[in-house]
Symmetry: C2
Subunit: 265 residues, 2 copies
DNA sequence: GATCCTAGTCGTCTCCCTGACGATAAACAG
DNA sequence: CTGTTTATCGTCAGGGAGACGACTAGGATC
């Protein structure tokens, strides 16, 4: 049989959906937008949209991310096409002032036949990690958008929390789990921080994403002892009440060996 | 703007491509089929095909896997729709006689606009791990198929090895890298083994996938000491020249904590 | 049958990482 | 000056992993 018959193929709609995560007020938050039309009118949903005929999947995700948040994506590793104009994560983190940058990577693809009641839609979900935005008003267009704590969306306890449209709760759960596991063995937690940050801020990122408390002394020893994870930027800060802290920026290392251990047992 | 306009959406073709890996003669091998028509006529390619209008992505991958190898897929964790008739990996490994079973999971999605010269094709790649098949003749239909060592396909040294069709070399590379990293922190290496196997056979799986030599004594201590990884089945074997080895089957554990460490530094 | 070879299994020793936690440093609030 | 808060440095014990010796139990060879 002809495996790629160009004339007779079942047509699908292809979209990208975004799990955009940030840490706000010691809580892991996701960007959600309110749907203005059926189906799921009035429900909160992940931002996303159609992939255009002439753009790649990562490009579409970066475009949607920029439209929703103004963040310039730094397309990152993983698979698929990496357009030449998007630098790879390893180089980007070091080079640019990443004030408006965010980590972006492909998450997974969701294509259940009935996931959209109107037609066959395959959605390539992407995961974006962003520092806390100075402008909490994300939506670029008229739809309302907000940062919602993921615990609120997924329902950490008994109830399922705020119901999300389509299968977006599952997508969000997968994205959160990916972020949780990935900061274990990569330096990705720095994507939640501004370009300069303290060890304490980085520790609060880990604590917020994992939902645990970490020992400040062991954490400090670990992150400053891992080669390439952090490089001191020279300055110090006096943000909150205590002793001024040394400022760091993300080093060149992308993988952490040995990894950060998530306490749990 | 209307994000999900059902009437005007750009149509895409959606396919699944399979990275099917096995270990044969102390080498990691991938299943490739020869293309009988243009483009890339005569090239080796990954098996795959169109997703049908009424089937999910995992279903399509399982169907293609069955068509090409006769393996019954055991759809595994990760995201996306898990049809009710496909058991999840954790339960399946324990329960069934897994003689004809293989691990199957979604890998990543590739959608560069020009990846197929004829039309816009988005391919949802899947990764399958199978034990060495008794019947080395995989193809179900007329096309020729073979198990090729991945080193041969990807060109571990200077040259790029056998050229693969489309972007299949990149997909294969991603699949191999996924397998290499995943056997570190999961019990997935047992998917390369028959239902009963020895510690030595499992060690040779790790050695073949990673391309390194492991200390038999430390490996034995590690795998037998990890709770839930292996359960003794009672029997022993006298395969090759040495002392008979104890037989095991895969235990219920899916994640390895602490992980197997891939020597490298 | 004695010997060699091969592969499997058990132990030991050391090093390094981690978790637990005490102690000191440097800011600010009263 | 004293208490509070956060940052940073040190110490100590336990566990896991690498290096490697030793023993076991089969077949092959002489």
């Amino acid at each position: 049989m002809s495996r790629y018959d160009p004339s007779a193929f079942p047509p699908f709609a292809v979209t990208v959906d975004l799990v955009v995560l940030t840490v706000r007020e010691h809580a892991l938050c996701a960007l959600v937008v309110r749907r203005g039309e059926p189906p799921f009118q009035g429900y909160w949903a992940l931002p996303g949209g159609f992939v255009r005929p002439d753009e790649g999947l990562g490009e579409a995700a970066a475009r949607e991310l920029a439209e929703e948040t103004g963040l310039r994506a730094q397309a990152n590793h993983t698979q698929a096409e990496a357009p030449a104009d998007l630098v790879r994560g390893e180089r980007a983190r070091g080079g640019h002032a990443q004030g408006a940058g965010a980590h972006l990577e492909q998450l997974a693809t969701y294509g259940h036949p009935q996931r959209d009641p109107r037609m066959r839609v395959v959605s390539v979900a992407h995961l974006a990690l962003a520092p806390d935005l100075p402008a909490p008003r994300p939506g670029g267009d008229a739809r309302s958008a907000r940062w919602a704590p993921v615990g609120e969306l997924l329902g950490n306890g008994a109830e399922g929390g705020v119901p999300l449209a389509f299968d977006h709760a599952a997508i969000l759960a997968d994205g959160v789990e990916r972020a949780r596991s990935k900061i274990e063995y990569s330096s990705l937690a720095t994507a939640f921080c501004p370009s300069e940050f303290t060890v304490g801020e980085l520790r609060r990122v880990y604590e917020s994403v994992w939902g645990v408390a970490l020992d400040p002394r062991n954490f400090h020893r670990k992150v400053t002892g891992t080669p390439g994870f952090l490089v001191p930027s020279g300055g110090t800060t006096t943000r909150q009440g205590g002793r001024p802290a040394q400022l760091f920026r993300a080093g060149g290392a992308t993988v952490l060996n040995p990894p950060m251990l998530r306490p749990e047992a």
